[in-house]
């Protein structure tokens, strides 16, 4: 019997070795131009990546991070090397620039730079537009099922309504969620007044009985499947929810909107900075850009691309003027940030 197992083990190892050998055999040996792209999964449709590779002969290595901060950690440890082009959220870019991990763009290489919608330029993280190219914007919104929710939701405060007991799903970003409590108190998302944040924490605890799920990913699934009757979602999730269930309604909270921008930058020691610029030039082309935004489902940050976006998606991808009055969540003082994290954890414990 022992012999049998030994034979099996040997056979298994043999097969595995063969597979590995076969696999490493198919490695490309030729030296070629490359681009190391570092962002979340699903930020580009495959045809756009393929199109770039075919046109330029540059091979794209697309790798992913989980949180913005993972990316920052990686850049810190590699001193801004290893990666050529990063796409991340606004607030983390501010920090990366502060840490000297980002290089200035050579705009002579990006003739399409002028296609960018100026609404998204001159923002707090890059006031002079020297470092970044915006790539999509978003606003968390409330989506609800009018057939189940007995009233019209118009603002964040409606999520506190007693009739929504155990039937609300929310995203898991604490600055955003603590922020909506602040908004119901007519305060700014970015307040650094500790007593105000403390009060928001108390307000948030009253929301706890209504919370069924807190989840940062695929939050739209809960409203699509009917697990919850109202959900507070990111833009791309809002669009997915509406695509799957046209009967759902969207509310633009009257207390004021939160607003976020994603942008691309080239790390300070990027090994292939030229290729990164080429890629930026490519994705800023109006027709390519339109394809990208239709795919990722965030608001289009490319003015010239708007006319290329298909009619049925125009409504959801081209931002309404009113929306731009939204407030961007920015980096705040350490004490305030820490308090945010604390009231958030207390809120979660209350939900249990």
């Amino acid at each position: 019997m022992k012999k049998g197992i030994k034979k099996r083990a040997a056979a298994l190892i043999l097969i595995m070795t063969c597979i590995v050998a076969a696999c490493s055999g198919c490695k490309k040996s030729e030296e070629e131009k490359e681009l190391n792209l570092y962002t979340w999964d699903g930020m580009f449709p495959q045809e756009v990546l393929d199109g770039f590779e075919d046109e330029t002969g540059i091979k794209i290595y697309y790798s992913n991070f989980d949180y913005d901060e993972d990316m920052l950690a990686k850049l810190e440890e590699t001193k801004g090397g290893d990666y050529d082009l990063v796409i991340a959220d606004d607030y983390i870019i501010e920090l990366a620039i502060k840490e000297g991990l980002v290089q200035k763009l050579d705009k002579t290489k990006i003739s399409n730079f002028s296609n960018i919608n100026s609404l998204y330029q001159g923002q707090f993280y890059d006031e002079t537009d020297e470092y970044t190219v915006p790539y999509g914007a978003g606003i968390p919104l409330i989506v609800y099922d009018p057939a189940v929710v007995g009233f019209e939701i118009t603002g964040y405060a409606d999520l506190w309504d007693a009739s929504l007991k155990d039937s609300v799903a929310i995203i898991g970003n604490y600055r955003v969620i603590d922020g909506i409590a602040l908004k119901t108190m007519e305060e700014s998302f970015n307040t650094e007044d500790l007593s105000v944040i403390e009060a928001a924490g108390e307000k948030l605890k009253e929301l706890a009985p209504n919370i069924r799920v807190i989840n940062d990913n695929n939050t739209q699934d809960f409203i699509i499947s009917g697990e919850v009757s109202a959900a507070f979602l990111y833009t791309s999730q809002v669009n997915q929810a509406l695509a799957a269930r046209p009967d759902l309604k969207v509310a633009y909270p009257k207390e004021g909107l939160g607003f976020g921008i994603m942008a691309a930058f080239v790390p300070s020691m990027a090994p292939n900075a030229d290729e990164a610029h080429q890629f930026l030039e490519y994705i800023l082309r109006p027709e390519v850009s339109a394809k990208c935004f239709e795919y990722i489902g965030y608001y289009c940050t490319n003015k010239a691309a708007e006319e290329y976006i298909s009619e049925e998606l125009k409504d959801v991808l081209v931002v309404p003027e009113s929306v731009t009055e939204g407030e961007i969540i920015q980096n705040i003082s350490e004490e305030a940030e820490e308090l945010h994290s604390k009231i958030w954890n207390e809120f979660k414990a209350e939900c249990d």
């Binding site: 019997m1 049998g4 099996r8 949180y67 913005d68 901060e69 993972d70 920052l72 950690a73 810190e76 920090l95 502060k98 840490e99 155990d166 898991g172 970003n173 604490y174 600055r175 919370i211 069924r212 799920v213 807190i214 989840n215 499947s225 009917g226 697990e227 350490e334 940030e337 820490e338 994290s341 604390k342 954890n345 207390e346 979660k348 414990a349 939900c351 249990d352």
Partner: protein
């Protein structure tokens, strides 16, 4: 004499890889983590060289103490159920015929080789409102409205048991498999009851397996949090999720390190307590 010397030398050689690897790639990183836990957070990222005990002081805040207690509670409950369900499985599995032993082993391993996340999503599809289970029950007119099974403490415990069970089964199995069954028969012949024979002979012989099973279950369950996040709807705050949040959104490396150090010490203490209570301190094993 010379013979003996040579013998020992070759045995020491066997120990070189594990000593070297553990010291370079485990001890060194752990020491680094401990060092971090005594430093202060830099403004944007990393640490500044200012020695402080603040990170440990912060852990004594009621919120974090509760988090630790909740994590221990969940790990203990899950491990308890895993022992109750997994021990008999491993034990009975060892009594199967040779052919079935092999098949069982394969049946246990195959799901393990698919993505753990995918398996959790499979459960979510089954248990969510209007999911597979609800549809079956409502189709059979057993229930009228969707049962809200997910996003509760029970769902998390079930998920933990599911994720950790194979470790227990395999450990118990490998120790029951080499058990000397004649001893059990002898005890029975000498008039011991089934129960007595089990306690005095079987349990004693399978103790190393049970012990390593408990360790392989309890230890990871202390730091595990993705099950609680997915099946519990993120509503249970565990040490693992606090550490994650401090490292990411909080960018507070030193505090996360301090929490990890405490978690490490706590787990170690609980394991050695467990060994003392079960009287397995003499045995080969951890700590």
């Amino acid at each position: 004499m010379t013979m003996k010397k040579r013998k020992n030398k070759s045995i020491y050689l066997m120990l070189v890889p594990i000593y070297a690897f553990t010291i370079i790639f485990v001890l060194f990183p752990i020491l680094y983590m401990i060092l971090l836990s005594f430093l202060s957070k830099a403004e944007v990222w990393g640490v500044v060289k200012e020695v402080t005990l603040d990170n440990y002081k912060k852990i004594t805040e009621p919120l974090y103490i509760k988090t630790f207690l909740d994590s221990i509670k969940l790990a203990a409950i899950s491990t308890g159920f895993v022992v109750l369900l997994g021990y008999p499985f491993g034990y009975f599995m060892a009594k199967l015929s040779k052919k079935w032993k092999r098949r069982m082993m394969e049946l246990i391993m195959v799901p393990f080789w698919t993505s753990g996340l995918m398996r959790l999503y499979g459960w979510i599809i089954v248990f969510r409102s209007n999911g597979t289970l609800d549809q079956i029950l409502m189709g059979l007119h057993i229930t009228k409205s969707p049962l809200k099974l997910l996003y509760s403490y029970e769902a998390v415990v079930v998920g933990m048991i599911y994720a950790l069970m194979p470790f227990m089964v395999l450990s118990v199995y490998s120790s029951a498999e080499k058990m000397d069954w004649t001893l059990v028969e002898a005890a029975r012949d000498l008039g011991a009851t089934k129960f007595k024979a089990f306690i005095t002979i079987t349990l004693k012989q399978t103790m190393p397996g049970l012990l390593s099973g408990v360790i392989l279950t309890f230890v990871p369950s202390m730091g595990m949090f993705f099950v609680a996040d997915l099946l519990g709807g993120n509503k249970i705050v565990l040490v693992g999720s606090v550490i994650q949040e401090q490292l990411t959104k909080g960018r507070n490396l030193p505090f996360a390190a301090a929490m990890s150090v405490v978690l490490m010490l706590l787990t170690t203490m609980l394991i050695s307590l467990y060994k003392r209570v079960t009287g397995s301190g003499e045995m080969e094993g951890l700590v």
